[in-house]
């Protein structure tokens, strides 16, 4: 997996590309944690090129949402593809995490 990061609004957008599973989650978690810290905890997670997520990947998303909330920041997820959306729905994440359709809909 590859992770692309760039400034966005008052924060940063992080875009994981490929599969977010048990093998890739530890590195992704570290990258996102660092990006949150550097961006004043304002982070948009762009899932447009995320092919697959398992519960190991959801752990990363949950940790990021909690870290951001604890710091009074903003954590938004966008561009969920069908498999990712299904897993978010099965987990109840669609009710506890701010999700928007497109990057342009996100305000950090």
């Amino acid at each position: 997996m590859r992770i692309v990061e760039e400034p966005f609004g008052k924060g940063v957008v992080v875009k994981p590309i490929g599969r977010l599973d048990s093998t890739t989650a530890p590195a992704a978690e570290q990258t996102i944690r660092d990006a949150l810290t550097r961006s004043g905890h304002r982070l948009l997670l762009d899932m447009a090129e995320l092919d697959y997520v398992s519960s190991a990947g959801l752990r990363v998303v949950l940790a990021a949402a909690k870290q951001s909330t604890a710091a009074n920041g903003r954590f938004i997820v966008c561009e969920l593809r069908p498999q990712v959306r299904q897993v978010f729905e099965l987990s109840g994440f669609t009710r506890i995490i701010t999700i928007v359709d497109k990057r342009a809909d996100a305000e950090l």
Binding site: R19, D21, S22, T23, S54, S55, A56, L58, R59, L62, A63, A65, K66, T69, P82, Q83, R85, Q86, V87, E89, L90, S91, G92, T94, R95, I96, I97
Partner: protein, 152 residues
Amino acid sequence: MATEAIRSTRIRAASVEVPKLLARIEAEGRDAALPEQLVAELCLCLDELLNNVIDHAGLGDETTIELNYRLGSDGVAAEIVDPGPPFDPLARPPVDIDAPLDARVPGGLGIHFVRTLMDEVAYERRGSHNRLRIAKRRGAGGSPAISSPTTS
């Protein structure tokens, strides 16, 4: 006549082995012209269950886990056999998916996916091995359609 592929394989108890195995199963599903969604759901469940065994059974990464599976036009099934200490992943309490963010704790979601997506899930300790069987019939209920709108 129903198309089907029946396979038996072994992987080392190391998480890097899992994506390779899943890619192979997805390719076999495509070759057999099975519904992508059905195979994808089986692969997600296998990812969760195999990693559960790898993370919790305390096996050395040279130990192997056996996987028997069947991909059929009428449904899919799999059995994971591992030599770890007795462990029934179905015994853990269900995760509360309605809890608010600050009350959510990591863990338990993998088994929740398996219970939700599969029609059958059964654990058995036989001899010195754990055996977990999962199955899903084609077109059977149990999971929301992938394109269904969020209802809550």
